[in-house]
Symmetry: C2
Subunit: 374 residues, 2 copies
């Protein structure tokens, strides 16, 4: 269906995995892993409870069907969260020489269930690629899905360093960055950076159901950003949230307590302590958002320059071309649209030291700057 | 390679305001209005309780100092929310021929206070330009701040159509789109699309204060989007939220009730009804976010194509240039960075009918597509 994409950088000829790799579950993640490994020349065996999904993924080039005598080095279980432990246990038993990993969003539960079941966890190590928000199914799969994304490997005491290395090889072969974490640290981390934000976005978006029609025309970038991930799939998320409920609940309970304080202040906004409660809440939000690392894992803050452009790709391209030509590195970029106007607003982020020069150079070339701040 | 930017549109030579216009409050909004009107050749008189701010705004070219005998056609009050009514009342009394507007984020309170005080509200009409999230003060002002943004004009029965027209003229002269709304409709609308999302973003960001250090390295676009506006100024927002508490409280109370249901489900995630509660909450969020209008006020949904690029402005520019050359219109665009990787991920939105051709053309030119879906 598609041509092989051009290499992004020097191809990594020396692949790490020797293969074969067995991938169980031919959905978005499983088929993407298959495509990425096939590109490296690894022998990939695909399996799926759905014959239709398996046929589609095989046609798509993500791997071959299982054969008698398959003896995989590594098994990747890429199935829905609620069946991960069951499938991993079955694979451990069926392939007594293979190391087994899974790619589910929650890591403590499956390990505990496997330990309790008496499965051979000396050959199991869970992992979690931070990728794949796209629509599901093998046809959504891409070989490049994991390039540059963190891939958490959730170690535990029962598996040896040497055996676990094959999962690192997998992550590196598909272009991801290996992030070792304990299973419980991982689950706590994703409660903060993924699962709680998902529910908070959802809860805000649900309120928009009742907003009067005319009011939504005033929506700007703020509400859009807050509610963007609320478009996520209920079927998948109900499993993820259920599996990590123990970590999500304290985060959202603290949030609810803060919300109750804000609601009490809103009841009597001029009353004693109310303005202070609201100001302290907003200040706490300031401190929290400042903790998020910037681009490339740094915590650096950037200067913003807002440029007005015609709402055409050519104009935005010309802007970025010019920024490149004057030797300024773009740290981030946002496009914003104004309802009813054929105007594009491009917000570019640069290191603060380059803000002034960027503004001068842009204005010197006739670009319209709407705002700039460090 | 880089063309000079084309003019945004034909300049509007026939300005609508005759002037002079008196602007009270030389902060970001007041000074930006001054700059925009000065560009049109309107005589702008600036005033501010702070001599330093006034001097700065005058030096900046946003207008001139007041003189004896000034007889403004229109007065724009651009002061902090808590002093709007007081200043409007004073201006109405001091300039008995002028129409007075204000640009504060909440519209019902000032009008009610003016009506109660016996001020001549037949010459007052509130307004609210949906612009100016940037840092404050006259040095942050830009003549283009309002271009293409909605400017709400909050009519009421005591002012004639003819008198109110001068405020429409102001909005149109600075490049904004006029949106007529009743004051209470406006205040309810901004509770949904601005004030509640601000507090929700803040409450989530505040939780990140307690997140373990390592967890924040896993942060992706989701949590960043949800918490971006949490970086807002506490001093300004405590006034806005206090002034619109009556509209914000029911929205957040409903949200709190939903949150309590989610928390109960998280307490026993496999218990009867728990998965259903979570799934229904996420589905309600789906429905809410779908109500937000797309670009240019439409409710059209777009197809997304995710392209991998070298993390340089030149690469992104070349991509957009190519999209422009093949005649495909970019509806939206997002840049995403991967921690630790020199890879940029560009997500472009196009009308669904153009998705397939865009993917084929891009792949034909060697671009690497990470995902595409309609």
């Amino acid at each position: 269906m598609t041509d092989a994409p051009a290499p992004l950088a020097e191809p990594d000829i020396d692949r790490r995995l020797r293969g074969p790799v067995r991938v169980v579950g031919a959905g978005l993640l499983g088929a993407s892993i298959g495509l990425a490994l096939r590109e490296k020349g690894v022998d990939v065996v695909l399996d799926d409870v759905s014959p239709a999904a398996l046929a589609l993924a095989v046609d798509y080039g993500a791997g071959r069907r299982p054969e008698d005598g398959d003896d995989p080095e590594l098994i990747v279980v890429a199935v829905p969260p609620d069946v991960v432990a069951t499938v991993v246990e079955r694979e451990l038993a069926a392939f007594p020489r293979a190391v087994v990993t899974d790619v589910a969003s929650v890591k403590t539960g499956p390990l505990e269930r496997l330990q309790a079941s008496g499965a051979d966890v000396s050959r199991y190590i869970g992992s979690h690629p931070m990728a794949g928000r796209e629509r599901s199914g093998p046809t959504a799969a891409r070989a490049d899905l994991f390039v540059g994304r963190p891939w958490v490997i959730a170690g535990h005491d029962a598996i040896s360093y040497q055996r676990a290395a094959v999962v690192e090889d997998l992550a590196l072969d598909v272009g991801a960055t290996v992030v070792p974490m304990e299973p419980d640290s991982h689950d706590l981390a994703v409660a903060y950076v993924s699962h709680a934000p998902q529910l908070v976005s959802t809860l805000m978006a649900a309120r928009l159901q009742e907003a009067p029609d005319g009011s939504l025309g005033l929506a700007g970038g703020g509400v859009r950003d807050v509610t963007r991930i609320a478009a996520s799939d209920p079927g998948l998320w109900v499993q993820i949230i259920g599996a990590n409920a123990a970590n999500i609940r304290p985060v959202l309970t603290d949030l609810r307590d803060d919300l109750d304080r804000v609601l009490a202040a809103l009841e009597d906004p001029d009353g004693q302590g109310s303005p202070r409660t609201i100001a302290e809440t907003i200040a706490a939000g300031n401190r929290g958002v400042e903790r998020l690392p910037g681009k490339h894992g740094t915590t650096k803050r950037f200067a913003q320059v807002v440029v007005l452009v015609d709402d055409t790709p050519g104009q935005i391209a010309a802007l970025l071309q010019f920024i490149g030509e004057i030797g300024i590195n773009l740290e981030d970029m946002r496009l914003e649209h104004s309802p009813g106007a054929p105007i594009g607003i491009v917000e570019v982020s640069v290191v603060p030291e380059q803000e002034q020069r960027l503004v001068e150079e842009l204005e010197g070339r006739g670009w319209r700057i709407a705002a700039a701040w460090a």
